[in-house]
């Protein structure tokens, strides 16, 4: 497979931890994409739930135990993982598209366009992310789509800032001036010439920030302001179980918590490694 001959890819795999992280993430993604294959119950299909199974401790029948409604924790975790990943990735993709474009335009044109966009970004950044998301969700109500948009609104700023910084330094370089002298229009220069040079740092940041987005969603859901009960994410599962944590039914909260932790750590390992291998490239 020719991708493995790529120098960057080889360098990535030199780090054991990052490779393990990547492997774990791939496993988790597969589990999340096909939860029905890997679980033995759809915990959100009420017909499959039997109240007599409530609060069974981890064992033979239910690997990781059940919650108060007889929902199998293991299966619920897989469905929850799917929601968590979906929200994290979707909001990151949207933030990248919006932040990237605004940052490119802001940096290239400067002037009042730049001032307006950057001041909005500054105002936003002076508030803690969680607060902004909280306010939006409190006003708007629950919903997976809504929380994706809320997280997008919080996160676009980071990408805009980074993109703008790179554009400012690249647009004065001779290759961009040469394209301008050839008569290429502004859009052509921004997206044709400069953008390819911006994507590398953006990819690195986006990778790590997917983890942030997932945590943000988990936090909101834990507080009851995120996803609805019918589509719980790992955060809401933790929240659910939290209420009965000290009654002895610890598995309902702890196992989803562990899964969330593993997910975040593996993403961070990958992101860190990517940042390290991308950096010396910039020295050239």
């Amino acid at each position: 497979m020719s991708i493995f001959k790529n120098e960057l890819v080889q360098e990535f795999f030199e780090d054991k931890m990052a490779t393990i992280g990547l492997f774990i993430l791939i496993v988790l993604v597969i589990l999340a994409l096909f939860p029905s294959v890997f679980s033995y119950q759809n915990p959100y299909d009420l017909s499959q739930l039997y109240l007599e199974n409530s609060f069974k401790s981890p064992g033979h029948q239910f690997w990781l135990g059940t919650d108060e409604q007889g929902r199998d924790i293991y299966s619920a975790m897989l469905y929850g993982l799917r929601i968590s990943l979906y929200v994290g990735v979707a909001s990151t993709v949207l933030s990248v598209i919006i932040g990237f474009s605004l940052g490119l335009i802001s940096g290239y044109y400067g002037g009042w366009v730049d001032t307006i966009i950057m001041r909005i970004a500054d105002i936003q950044l002076s508030f803690p992310a969680i607060l902004i998301a909280l306010i939006i969700m409190a006003l708007w109500g629950e919903g997976v789509g809504k929380i994706i948009i809320a997280i997008t609104i919080v996160n676009w700023v980071y990408y805009a800032r980074t993109a703008r910084g790179v554009v400012l330094s690249e647009k004065e370089k001779d290759y961009a001036q040469s394209a301008k002298a050839l008569g290429m229009g502004d859009m052509g220069i921004i997206f044709g010439e400069i953008m390819p040079n911006v994507t590398a740092p953006i990819i690195v940041i986006a990778t790590v920030r997917i983890a942030n987005a997932i945590i943000l969603e988990a936090t909101l859901s834990f507080l009851g302001l995120g996803v609805p009960i019918t589509q719980p994410s790992l955060g809401s599962l933790i929240s659910n179980g939290y209420q009965v944590l000290f009654s002895g039914y610890w598995w309902t909260s702890v196992y989803p918590g562990i899964l969330l932790m593993v997910l975040i750590i593996s993403i961070n390992l990958i992101g860190d490694r990517m940042r390290d291998i991308m950096n010396p490239r910039l020295k050239r």
């Binding site: 290759y175 001036q177 301008k180 229009g185 040079n197």
Partner: protein, 325 residues
């Protein structure tokens, strides 16, 4: 300025002022170009020599359209292009091309050489993909780049090879005028020789018209037909190559010659110490711009700004004291 040859480009009394921030609130005028005039003749190479900060890159970029002149005219094919931006001069843009100084930033690091070379053709011509490829191959051959390397990225080439690619990019549209802004300054001396020879060969083969911008007067001897010496935004001496090298007249020209390291003789220490540095173009002196650094300066030099006058057959200089020192 010279008879018998047709003028391709005329720069007439061009001035360019940049507004720069000095301190937190103050803005001052930076006089990059000061009423500069010269002509470029078809089929010839004019070298523009001067130190960093004299405005030679600014005039190059103004001719190219990246800057717009504050005053004056630049006539190309009977049209004044001095204030036209690149998107307003689409019809002539392919006729004026530039080779930039830094081989490391003049090629987009994320694009293959093939893409970089095809881009001008895609923008300005209607050639079919097959015809474009052929033109790319032919141009690569002209500059000495193996066509097998077209799929590579700039960082996979040495500085000299990148400069060849930059030359190929400038030549691929078969422009009438090529502006070469310090094309060899960033290269090893041994590679400079290769690239200079390449530029001379291309000039002979295609009867190119070139404006060759440099700070090193020793390289202009081989490539130029005419030489103009520039200081703080104006021409201080102009002559044919032969004449300038035989009779350098302006004190600044003489200073430039004296600082070229000659391998067989040691540095002439006294004169080197007094060479000083070019002043800032923000607060221009009232009299002769060069007076402060000039070893022959007299009082009159601080009061009167000299004009460019003919001091010999097609030899012009901006110093009233020539012949008197």
């Amino acid at each position: 300025m010279s008879q018998g040859l047709k003028k391709l480009l005329e720069v007439k009394n061009v001035s360019k002022i940049f507004s720069v921030k000095v301190g937190t609130f103050e803005k001052k005028d930076l006089h990059a170009l000061n009423n500069i005039s010269f002509d470029i003749f078809k089929g010839s190479t004019l070298s523009l020599v001067g130190e960093s900060g004299c405005g030679k890159t600014t005039i190059g970029k103004t001719i190219l359209g990246l800057y717009q002149a504050t005053n004056g005219e630049i006539l190309f094919r009977d049209r004044d292009i001095s204030k036209l931006k690149p998107n307003k001069r689409k019809d002539i843009q392919k006729d004026i091309q530039m080779i930039f100084q830094d081989p490391y930033s003049s090629l987009n690091p994320r694009k293959k050489i093939k893409t970089i070379l095809e881009q001008p053709l895609k923008i300005h011509t209607n050639l079919s993909p097959k015809e474009r490829r052929e033109r790319v191959f032919k141009t690569c051959e002209d500059v000495g780049i193996d066509a097998g390397y077209l799929e590579r990225y700039p960082h996979q080439f040495s500085g000299g090879q990148r400069q060849r690619i930059a030359i190929a990019r400038a030549m691929i549209l078969k422009p009438e005028l090529i502006l070469a802004d310090e094309p060899i300054s960033a290269l090893d001396v041994s590679i400079q020789a290769q690239i200079l020879n390449l530029l001379m060969d291309l000039k002979d083969k295609y009867n190119l018209t070139t404006l060759f911008i440099t700070h090193d007067i020793s390289v202009v001897k081989h490539i130029s037909d005419f030489v103009a010496v520039m200081y703080l935004g104006e021409i201080v001496e102009y002559a044919s190559k032969k004449e300038l090298f035989a009779n350098p007249s302006h004190p600044y020209t003489k200073m430039l010659f004296s600082t070229v390291p000659d391998i067989y003789t040691p540095l002439i220490t006294d004169s080197v110490l007094k060479t000083g540095e070019i002043q800032s173009p923000i607060d221009l002196p009232r009299g002769c711009f060069f007076a402060k650094r000039c070893p022959y300066k007299k009082d009159i030099c601080d009061d009167v700004h000299p004009d460019l006058v003919e001091i010999g057959a097609n030899h012009f200089a901006r110093c009233p004291l020539i012949g008197k020192f």
